[in-house]
């Protein structure tokens, strides 16, 4: 039986897809059989971030409506073994997702995978509800910024009331906080919410802190999940987060501003 993980946030643009791609790749790199599903029907982007956009033939809606078999829609990653991507439809709308349809897909994928990652769309409408409904665990992606923290709190409420686990009164969905776009230099200046403040407000266990980093844009430009960039602080922070997810004790890094030399001060160098 696979573990179903939803990557969610409520707010858009905080890094759900970047995190889903990095996490799925990271789990597969650790030898876990992993599928990552794009639930953003109508606005799919996971295919681009994963660099498989030219290999999409069928999508999740085709599978639900019986136009294609699951195996035909799954895209096998060429860089990492045991990683597959199930793209969203670009032409349909989110009503094409049904509980029965999604449930069947997850059940089938559960048979020969360790992890099923569900990349949620923004909002708390149909697509987001479908993405979180079957979740055993949730990675809540949050930026150090008021609207993102508020929306994360809201989505935690939805997880606690609208997930299948909540409906069936089973153990609640296990929640993890993933803070992204964290800029320790701005935190030090008092311009950005501190990690401790976000933790205090949301009060869920911290999985990782991904520092603001130029490498995230570079990664999406080229369609390589940022976790594959060994040089990048964001990539390293994702690797750490994956290790913690798998139960290892790893210290949090990149929480303090990088010591800048005179040259980077003069020329405005930023974190890789």
């Amino acid at each position: 039986m696979a573990e179903v993980i939803v990557v969610t946030s409520g707010k858009g643009g905080v890094g759900k897809t970047t995190s889903s791609a990095a996490f799925a790749t990271g789990l597969a790199q650790r030898g876990k059989r992993t599928v990552v599903i794009d639930f953003d029907v109508g606005l799919r982007n996971l295919d681009l971030i994963m660099g498989v956009e030219r290999r999409v033939v069928f999508d999740i809606v085709n599978v639900i409506s019986g136009e294609a078999r699951l195996n035909q829609a799954l895209i096998r990653d060429k860089r990492v073994d045991c990683l597959q991507i199930l793209p969203a439809s670009q032409t349909r709308d989110k009503d094409a997702l049904t509980k029965e349809g999604v449930g069947k897909i997850i059940e089938e994928l559960s048979k020969d995978n360790d992890y099923i990652l569900c990349d949620s769309p923004a909002g708390i409408e149909k697509g987001a509800l479908m993405a979180l409904y079957f979740a055993d665990q949730a990675i809540v992606v949050t930026n150090p910024e008021v609207s993102s923290v508020r929306d994360s709190d809201r989505i935690l409420g939805v997880l606690q009331s609208k997930s299948r686990r909540a409906e069936e009164k089973r153990d609640p969905v296990k929640e993890h906080l993933l803070v992204t776009r964290y800029d320790p230099a701005r935190v030090e200046k008092g311009e950005m919410l501190k990690l401790d403040d976000i933790r205090e407000i949301l009060a869920i266990p911290l999985l990782g802190v991904i520092p603001e980093s130029e490498s995230v844009l570079k990664a999406s430009n080229t369609g390589n999940p940022v976790i594959m960039d060994q040089e990048s602080v964001a990539g390293q922070a994702y690797k750490d987060a994956v290790s913690r997810f798998l139960g290892e004790k790893v210290e949090h890094r990149f929480l303090e501003p990088a010591k800048k030399g005179i040259f980077s001060r003069l020329f405005g160098g930023r974190a890789a």
Binding site: V146, R150, R265, L266
Partner: protein, 96 residues
């Protein structure tokens, strides 16, 4: 010349805004979390209060103002109902 700006910036620090962010979040979330477990009682409260007043005085439902200020320690709910003067049509109703 950004290095010059860097040097001067450290001289007069702007007030830190992160603490305001935290405080505002704590207040708004405290209220939103209550709303999650209980349905929003305000519309019903307003309806019932107005209904009670209307039992005694004829009022114009369009001239009822409700304002709410959610604070950390205390919130205030103000309900303002315009009562028609003695000359107004309708006047007082006999109470049951």
């Amino acid at each position: 010349m950004s290095w010059l700006a860097d040097i001067f910036r450290s001289r007069k620090p702007e007030p830190a805004t992160a603490s305001q962010a935290k405080e505002r979040l704590q207040i708004v979330l405290a209220h939103e979390r209550i709303g999650r477990t209980r349905e929003d009682f305000l519309p019903k409260l307003q309806q019932e209060i107005v209904a009670v007043v209307a039992r005694y005085v004829s009022i114009d439902p369009g001239r009822v103002n409700v304002s709410l200020d959610r604070g950390g320690d205390m919130s205030t709910l103000a309900i303002e109902i315009d009562l028609p003067g003695p000359g107004a049509q309708g006047g007082r109703r006999a109470s049951a």
